[in-house]
Subunit: 679 residues, 3 copies
């Protein structure tokens, strides 16, 4: 993400001068300087101001903002302002408002409020993006394009219904094919005319999070994700037409369920995202989300587009970020591949629903606050860091697979258990590697598997065309593959692969899963190790689902400890080509997974970056011949880390100190060790 | 249910060959034979396939299925396929889709989706049933008609509104009468024109499960239950026109709240139902439901139309049926009067929401599964059993009264307590008799009471015309009648009978209930016995509601133990004619009810079938001069049962062994003792 | 509330003879006499009976009722019957039915069902009120007017939308102004035409209890409260036209959230309200609500318009009022300023949803019930009391401020915590004074503050124009003012006052609140006293929110005990003019508040009325030279109270006994001590 216009970690965030008068803006600019802020994201929600009616555009306000910021040396991440349509548009062209999942036509209000298949909306977003691009293409402040804002939400209107039918015709060609993949022989759903198809929502197939027809609901998710992506692309293309060299992004939302971000990333120059953990979010979950965002474009550095300096407003209990936490979490983003540290927001709004969302400049309006001081201190540090870290990469031999369509499949499933949460199962494995300080990538199914020695695919329920072969090839060549219960069940249309679970993964895994037991929340089974395996021995607890499996060649390392399937395999390893394929037939407690992965990694030569006390996170970014090891102390107390003896000198990038031996890391403290690579 | 075409316990279940290709069907037929399957329910959801457009019918597919099954000796329970209307119909004739309880017009989707007062729907179900009956009336496979599927769900559309008004005119004749029974003087609801009446739903009188006008909501339930029954009857009549001798059924759902099955049973040749207990359903609840289904037609054997071989899909946690449980629960059905053992489903579907619902043939597709083996073993046993049990009856001297309209009244009531659940109170009494091995019938209010020595009517809230007299006559002749708190309160329109609770039951019970206290869930009172009564002595806990009663002649056997009504009666017995009428003024703990009913039964000469260890269920079916005693061990451990000395030999029907003295019953085991009756 | 037509505490309640035949009414009148009932509220829901069609009015039924009651000496609180519109009106003029918060057009049903901006509704309520007033203006039974019933509920229809736009034009004059106070620069909500504005509901800005735009939702609450008040006023004006001297009221509902009763009270001759505590409502909450109702019109006596003699129907668990409780709670109302004791209802209805709501005459229909006996005993007492208490006042030096618009602001807020409940925080302070027997007024912001020595304003979030000055003037003159965390934040449009919390209260309080931490429900902080303050010393628990404050001159009496703001002030006192302004920065446990207020009151010379055991409530009403001290024992056991030595004789008004020294108060007992005032 090195950018010659601002060759450092960008620092700043969302700024809404349209809410303020000149005096306030003047003060803001003064304080930006104090805080080392050099980037402002502007024009996020100004559509109604810029375009007060169908044929009229006013850019004076934005001109002034751009000039103002430029004059103070603040670069601009310029948004296209299409995150919420104007009120006049909703009134004059009702097709822009959505029909919700309960079948209700929406009126004007909120944001994320436009139908992605509204002809009015599509026409006007392209027009507007084009006009903005043309007007500001050469503006000195322009650094980056920010399309719309936090895309999300589905629509179920008649325009969407019509577009869905077209999308289906395109995808399936014929109703015969559609009837087959949608399995419409079930419950007499055969369609004889495309017009008979209606969107699946609360008026037809769905209720709450459930559906009668997984295939229909799955396709509607694909279709809506694509529809929104098309809206994004309309703007993207307009922007690129005028400024082919200015990077374009839109801010994503981590594990946001509704959009298939792997598809989105293909149309983005750089990934950016908004990080809003709450007080009780595990730090490893935040780490995993950063890694996923990095993984969307194959490891390319990403932008931390939003985080709060302190407080949020939309959680139930919006606790303050404790002293040092904002800095710590900012560096955590950088440690995982972010090349920017941006806030929502630079100045707190004083009206509407986000006025209790924290900001660099609080309602009090001056710089003499804890929050501002912490922001300014970080700003100073980031200036010192310069461009050293930019475009450095994280190198991982281990990867965890995550797939949105697989998630949709699992979440739409009726049975076997509401207790099965795909993201939680993914996190369990990620967390085990995280606790072991094994650097890990989060990857999609299109990633090049050969980059890795170990790939873990928890609950790989849906096997899309080619995926089984790709995994087999990976193992064949020597890779280690781990998957779990409820894997290999269906194809890309959520149609079960007959012939025995785990379907197309069965030869690779060397097992057959005959039945799947669902445990009540207060029930458990046990994983009983047959012999010691690394640190693993004795019994471990498991729950959620228990696959009742038979070995078909796989080595059985552990068996169930109770119930009528006591003695059946629960952990198996199958030699396949030069590699190994593991199956974990239930959802284990954390200590089991840490033990299992410690041993597997040890055997594969995948080493921890460092051994650290609990709560101290480690990552390593590398660039050219330098490595940058991040030590992040999430504890409320100081921690001591023992650096391994090394021939190369380790310098703390933030202090310039040369470190070795036992080093002390302050509570919530951060150290970035710069070293010459000796590999 | 003896049927000369298949004189044995029918074995098989729902089968959907329209979802499969020829090879699979070929395999299925092979495996049916292996499993001893001789009945398939087909054509349940094929409407869209058979009738692809308004004037076109295609029977080729169904012809092939019928011929195929016939050729392999599998008989058919032939459904009329009207459980879900085709998509084209919803599009061309929107009157077929429902308006839901929130006032929303539904689009195409799901099942149970047709408005019962849609002219289109009514016209087409009759046409279709007629065509099917005509076509297959002489088909060798045809064994039974299965109309539609699991009728249920209400509609609130304009057609229903109009039909409701007509139904009301018919029921009440005049608006004067309607205004009176609906009590419209309350809240100024007087109607001056029939057209002013709208269905009670979320847009008018109801919210959640509550209503402003119990009488209106009660009538709407009656009306919708009848509307759906009329749809059933349209099909029934068409079927009978062509095949007067083929029995007709539709599959019921036990205690399903929305339909008055006693009325439905009058229009059914045989009752059939779908039994889906979950892991934590009390076995006595399942037993009670079987008995209710048997009671719908006065004790006539019924069909177990659906049960899962192992797993369900729509529960929160779909646990597997443990080994032996499917067999045990199948025999439990037979033990309570079922003459068939049928599954949903014979082969698991691979798409849509029921793909994780268990089946005889699982997704793996072969017979080498635990589930298939258990099914085949049971199939073998049922073949051995032959026709011996068919049409045998259960003889009970005790009955528990259950009434759907009473339930509607209780559930619609605003006050005194949301903690009062009618079905739970019924189950408490049933369970006490069940634990005592007292064979019990579940009966409706139209049953001949003189068949019984003991009738228990928990929470008999609604006294319909003639019911009080009928109960009095029963007691007068020597019967024992037990009722509880919150009984005798209202008439058939939910209008309170003034003059003192329990209204028309007051003379019979010899008490006056002055007030009704509602206890919070964490509150209890005590039932303090005045003297020993059989096993009862000392104190017992009670809760939910406490009637504050005064004896008006009844003997007081127990008093409340605390609160300001300490010392008021809580258990009374009133001699009335040659019999006794008991009143239990609160909801007691189980041990109290078991003690009370043990003593009452002892005094009435109603004997337990056998004394068994906890968890071992006993029932007895009899036919001609034979009796069949079922011993069902619900425990996970073996149990020992001591057979009484008898002059007649007892043969285990399943093994042929002759048994006497202490016999061992395996965990989850079943024994059917065949004996010559010595009565 | 002295009224020469009935110079005593009115006794009676809602009566619906339209539900009964002549014989029953005859019995009712006999029993009213037995019970000392002299007032009946009639015609509450008779609109459909009186006006069977658009142009027809029938008053025969009401004539008969009025004459009947008059003939038996029962006076009438005559309702206008507009609480529910007729069915014919809903059918012929659909504008009378509402659109609900989910955007659904309602059909006929329920009550509170009329759109307040329906032209049909407005026309007809005025017409009807006028006709009734004209007809009965000279009727001997007429005592009081009762407009409609329990106004409430909002509408979101097109007529309301149009009226809202007009209301906004009137309030703001221009769209520029509206865009500013609604802060529409946020999320691009700028309006360019009044017609673009739609009501905020589930189709636009709101979901559940949350909103995107607090300012819009706040204005809609104001608008709807005013719209309903306009409907009331239409009737009020008609009634006054014909009977300028008959007092007019409508029955309020205590802390009912939707209507700003301070505005309503201005249009009411006397406040009346319906008191429905449940078994677990704290008695101090009921006391507070009575005080609020009294405070609506500056301390003027109010009417207890409804209470149940025993049971309610709409709670989850409708427990009986224990013996003595109905009497105790009736006197509690009088003790707090009620001059009437009225029930809902005199005779229990036998149909619809209130048939399990208690009544003086129960379903049994005779007088031989516990409930009737208690009612009759109270009726006898009230007759003995005569007119002595009428129009006596409660004198308080302490007041707690409550404001509906402030409540809306707090409840609509997005952040900082869903755990913050305005009414609960108000109650915490009220309860502390209540436990100390400090007589307290509940006042609105328009009250004359100079009447008080101590004013407590918990969570005074919204500072409307002039309020800060008014509070400053109060303190300047020597008053003591206490407020809390989350105060002084916004103006009347929910726009934050910049420059540092608590905004306009900052000079007065001498503090700056830099941040606001929200605690999870299981988290606590501590209030650590720096030195003893009266009974306060050591540590106390606090939670919900913690303001992180800095003293700007205020004395710090206590500091936080933990977390990163340990040592920051949590309790401050600022000398301001001749008075003091206190800030409590978090929500403390009860013992802290009792200690704090005990000491503050002691210092201010605000004395407890009496020292009593726990659970014994005391209030004092005074009139001319007499005082009436109410002693109310809420305990289930007797209590002993030690009267202070006094020169004036204390007579128990209910027994005539002269009391002094240690006196015994029965369980649930009441004593009213009449004394000559010696002040």
């Amino acid at each position: 993400m090195f950018n010659e216009k601002l060759p450092k970690i960008w620092y700043g965030g969302d700024y809404n001068p349209e809410q303020w008068d000149k005096e306030v803006i003047h003060e803001d600019l003064r304080m930006f300087k104090l805080a080392g802020i050099d980037v402002a994201t502007v024009n996020v929600f100004s559509w109604a101001l810029i375009q007060p009616s169908e044929h009229v555009y006013h850019f004076d306000g934005l001109d002034a903002i751009m000039d103002n910021l430029a004059s103070k040396g603040v670069s601009v991440c310029l948004a296209t302002s299409t995150g919420a349509h104007p009120a006049w548009m909703a009134r004059e062209f009702p097709d822009v408002t959505r029909v919700d999942s309960e079948g209700r036509k929406r009126k004007f209000g909120g944001r994320h409020n436009s139908c992605p298949n509204s002809p009015t909306y599509r026409k006007h977003v392209a027009l507007l993006a084009g006009k903005i691009a043309e007007r500001y293409k050469d503006h000195p402040a322009l650094l980056m394009w920010h399309v719309s804002n936090e895309y999300g939400g589905y629509c179920y209107c008649e325009n969407c219904a019509a577009a869905f039918r077209k999308w289906l015709q395109n995808r399936y060609g014929s109703l015969d094919k559609l009837n087959k993949v949608w399995y419409t022989a079930f419950w007499g759903h055969t369609f004889y005319d495309w017009e008979e198809i209606v969107p699946p929502n609360g008026l037809s197939e769905e209720w709450g999070n459930r559906t009668n027809f997984q295939s229909i609901s799955l396709d509607y998710r694909r279709f809506q994700s694509e529809s929104l992506l098309e809206c994004y692309s309309l703007e993207y293309d307009e922007l690129k037409k005028h400024t082919p060299n200015i990077p374009v992004t839109t801010n994503l939302m981590g594990f946001y369920p509704e959009l298939n971000y792997f598809e989105w990333a293909k149309r983005m120059d750089v990934v950016s995202w908004d990080n809003y953990p709450s007080l009780d979010t595990p730090v490893s979950f935040t780490a995993m989300t950063h890694d996923l965002m990095r993984g969307l474009k194959g490891g390319q550095p990403f932008m931390l587009m939003e985080q709060t300096p302190s407080q949020q407003n939309w959680q139930a209990y919006n606790s303050l970020k404790r002293p040092g936490v904002m800095r710590l979490w900012s560096y955590q983003a950088v440690a995982h591949g972010a090349d920017t540290v941006l806030f929502f927001q630079l100045r707190r709004s004083i009206g509407a629903c986000e006025k209790y969302h924290g900001a660099v400049i609080e309602h009090v309006g001056h710089e003499h606050t804890r929050v501002f001081r912490e922001c300014a201190e970080l700003g100073r540090e980031l200036q010192l860091l310069g461009d050293g870290l930019l475009d450095s990469r994280l190198e991982s031999k281990a990867a965890v697979l995550y797939d949105w369509e697989n998630r949709w499949g699992v979440e739409l499933s009726s049975g076997p258990s509401v207790g099965l949460k795909y993201v939680d199962e993914v996190h369990k494995y990620y967390d085990a590697l995280y606790q072991l300080n094994i650097q890990t990538d989060m990857i999609g199914i299109e990633e090049a598997f050969e980059r890795y020695d170990l790939i873990i695919a928890p609950v790989l329920y849906m096997i899309k065309p080619g995926l089984a072969d790709k995994i087999e090839a990976f193992v064949q060549r020597g890779g280690t593959f781990i998957t779990t219960f409820f894997s290999g069940i269906v194809d890309e249309n959520d149609i079960v692969t007959t012939g025995g679970y785990p379907g197309k993964l069965r030869p690779l895994l060397g097992i057959w899963s005959e039945e799947i037991d669902a445990l009540y929340p207060d029930m458990h089974n046990q994983i009983v190790m047959k012999t010691e395996f690394g640190p693993l021995s004795g019994e471990y607890s498991c729950n959620v689902l228990c696959d009742l499996i038979h070995s078909e060649g796989a080595e059985v390392l552990a068996e169930y400890g109770s119930d009528f399937y006591q003695g059946m395999p629960v952990l198996t390893r199958n030699k396949f080509g030069a590699g190994e394929a593991w199956y974990v037939a239930s959802s284990p407690e954390a200590s089991f997974l840490q033990g299992l992965l410690a041993k597997i990694c040890l055997d594969k030569g995948i080493k921890p970056l460092l051994v650290t006390p609990d709560g101290v996170e480690v990552t390593k970014r590398t660039k050219n011949d330098q490595s940058y090891t991040f030590l992040l102390n999430h504890n409320a107390a100081p921690a001591t880390i023992h650096l391994p003896e090394s021939e190369v000198e380790a310098t703390d990038l933030l202090t310039g100190n040369i470190l070795s031996g036992a080093i002390e890391l302050a509570a919530k403290g951060v150290i970035i060790l710069k070293q010459q690579r000796n590999e």
